[in-house]
């Protein structure tokens, strides 16, 4: 079975499995929206300043808010099917557009943080494996546990104190120098400077996870018979590690990386708040402050879908890395 067939089959299976989950999440979202205090009519009335009982009733009728619950659920699903997540009076634009504007910022931040976490985690984990059971391993193990215990928003603030306030090396917030029209490398460097601290704050927790995971996976793989076979072939240790150990150890590590997308989105909410990073998390914070529940639930729904997509991607990656996938 070729790699392509394997990946194709996995894709089909994953897609089918995701359907009931998506449906369940949508239903849950709908009921949370129902629970939220105030409805669209209240919001619009609030925006307008004042409204009589009659105009409220008229508004409700116009938006179908006086319909029975099931009809409203149907309407909600109908709107979703047309990619409509509702309208935010506060921002004066459809929620879907609003989220679309902010999504790339969050995705970029998460991608960079994930990359940093994986690279640092793999490096630390490999180091711990080499010294397994000895002092450097124990020390790194406690350090990784420390990283695991630090709240992202706090380390974010502390990094600002050190690198922005005290040393003045890096900006303390935003996503680019306002009004600057730098291009090329200089522009990229300007963007990168704003990226370093938020990405690091978000990554730290996951560095700890990947370091420990890498250590466990590599120790596990190292004891496998095929590693002994590789040594019996006369391969040098570096090639054994890269070609035989790491490739196998990557399988559990990629699985975990996909599972962390949801957690990272949560982390992005607080980190973006700290650094005024214009992303979904910052939008969620603003929506909380303004009690804009349509936006908030739109974010919840969309981020859940993002997790499903990430999980599917990992499944495909998995199918590509591990030839045994289709058989199991």
């Amino acid at each position: 079975m070729s790699t392509l067939t394997r990946v194709g089959r996995t894709f089909r299976r994953t897609a089918i499995q995701a359907v009931p989950t998506v449906f369940g999440i949508v239903i849950l979202n709908f009921f949370l929206l129902q629970l939220a205090p105030g409805d669209a009519a209240d919001v619009m009335a609030g925006e307008a300043g004042s409204a009589t009982v009659e105009t409220m009733a008229a508004l409700r009728q116009r938006f179908g808010l006086d319909n029975p619950l099931l009809v409203q659920l149907f309407n909600y699903l109908y709107n979703l099917a047309h990619f409509s997540l509702g309208f935010s009076p506060r921002y004066g634009m459809p929620v879907a557009d609003l989220i679309g504007q902010r999504l790339p910022g969050t995705l970029l931040l998460m991608a960079v943080a994930l990359a940093v976490a994986i690279v640092l985690g793999l490096a630390l984990g490999s180091l711990m494996t080499v010294f397994a059971g000895r002092l450097p391993d124990r020390m790194l193990s406690v350090i990784s546990l420390l990283f695991y215990s630090i709240p992202g928003f706090w380390i974010g603030l502390m990094l600002i104190v050190l690198f922005s306030v005290k040393l003045g090396w890096l900006p303390s917030g935003g996503s680019g120098t306002i009004g600057s029209n730098l291009t090329g490398l200089a522009g990229l460097w300007d963007k990168a400077r704003y990226m370093i601290l938020p990405a690091l704050s978000l990554a730290l927790f996951y560095v700890a996870i990947y370091a420990r995971l890498t250590r466990a996976a590599m120790l596990e793989v190292q004891s496998q018979d095929y590693v002994r076979t590789a040594a019996a072939k006369g391969l040098p240790p570096a090639i054994i590690t890269i070609r035989h150990v790491l490739r196998n150890a990557l399988i559990p590590i990629t699985t975990m990386a996909g599972m962390h997308v949801g957690g990272m989105l949560g982390g992005a909410v607080v980190v973006e708040t700290v650094y005024s990073w214009p992303g979904l998390g910052r939008l969620a914070f603003e929506a909380v402050m303004g009690r804009d529940f349509t936006v908030l639930l739109g974010i919840l729904l969309l981020s859940s879908l993002l997790v499903i997509v990430a999980n599917a991607t990992v499944d495909l990656l998995h199918a590509w890395l591990d030839p045994r996938v289709g058989v199991r």
Partner: protein, 332 residues
């Protein structure tokens, strides 16, 4: 694999079926009184019988782990702080007691200084331990209770009940939990009980998944078969035969859950979604944030309290894992 290393971290595992692990590790010493061998015939048949010596050995391993002992000592100090806070600082920690912006060490009466409103930082930190521990412990207890019920039902009964519950778990594990938490607290208004229940709502799936995997592995064991053949009811088999044997990974998870709950609570309070009438470490950081350029100690000190409390819990979790899962600790 490393699933017990970071029980909270891999919470979003969707491969529920892949989790059925090998034979369960023996329960920890505290569970001795919960003897799993109620079925007389099972006594001889049980492969998973739990000699007290094994539990004792686990305790010994735990006690001889310096990291875990550091965790226990530090956590005890936090508990002590929470208990003594009303005695040492009977006044409301939210009330103004001195000149604002006293730096730590500037005035011996306020060893950790005062904030922008002249409130005593040390008093705030001591009182903050109360809400952190309360939310951490109660949310974990609720999450454990509900998660065990769901996971036990799914793992024990199997069939359509299992299918249904697994779907439910999967839905909750797919939704980014912190975002869901923010939504729930924002909708229901932030009070300490709301925050606690909301944290329990996002943590139970981890427990359910773990419990289910354990139950699936244990339900086929001889002593469970024996109990079944003796005609014991489902409830009795679930709670008195299987559950005690499924406890070790749950105990490890619960210490990590308390840590996670404390982190979640502090993040919520930081974002202004905490109980406004109670001082919390997160809300202190949130308040100090605006003054970070001039008085960064207001952010640093409560943050250190969070870091060390959470670290202590994680060290304890690690120690418990080493003691209760020798299969994993061998790799260390």
């Amino acid at each position: 694999m490393a699933s017990t290393d970071f029980a909270a971290g891999d919470a979003r595992s969707r491969r529920l079926h892949a989790d059925a692990r090998g034979p369960a590790a023996p329960p920890e010493p505290e569970a001795k009184s919960w003897s799993n061998l109620h079925a007389p015939d099972a006594r001889s048949a049980s492969a998973a019988s739990v000699p007290i010596a094994v539990g004792g050995r686990a305790l010994k391993v735990f006690l001889s782990n310096p990291n875990a002992m550091f965790g226990v000592v530090f956590l005890s100090l936090v508990v002590l702080a929470a208990l003594l806070a009303p005695v040492l600082y009977p006044a409301d920690p939210l009330s103004m007691v001195a000149r604002p912006f006293l730096w730590p060490g500037q005035n011996p009466a306020f060893p950790l200084g005062t904030d922008s409103m002249g409130r005593d930082v040390l008093s705030g930190i001591l009182h903050g331990a109360r809400i952190s521990l309360f939310v951490g412990l109660v949310a974990t207890a609720l999450g454990l209770g509900f998660g065990i019920l769901v996971g036990a039902a799914a793992g024990y009964f199997g069939g359509w009940i299992d299918d249904l519950l697994v779907r439910l778990i999967e839905i909750f594990q797919t939704i980014p939990s912190f975002v869901l938490l923010v939504v729930m607290v924002a909708i229901a208004q932030p009070t300490a009980p709301v925050v606690t229940v909301a944290i329990a709502v996002i943590t139970w799936p981890t427990v359910a998944r773990l419990t289910r995997a354990e139950f699936r592995a244990i339900r086929e064991k001889d002593f469970v078969m024996a109990a079944r053949s003796l005609g014991y009811g489902h409830a009795r088999i679930i709670f008195r035969e299987i559950l005690p044997n499924a406890l070790p990974p749950l105990i490890v998870t619960s210490s990590v859950m308390v840590a996670t709950a404390i982190l979640m609570e502090s993040a919520l309070s930081f974002m202004g979604l905490g109980d406004p009438n109670v001082v919390s470490w997160g809300s202190m950081i949130g308040a100090g944030r605006e003054l970070i350029r001039t008085a960064w100690y207001l952010t640093a000190l409560p943050g250190l309290a969070i870091v060390f409390t959470v670290l202590a819990l994680n060290l304890i979790g690690d120690g418990l894992n080493d003691a209760l899962n020798p299969r994993f600790s061998q790799e260390r």
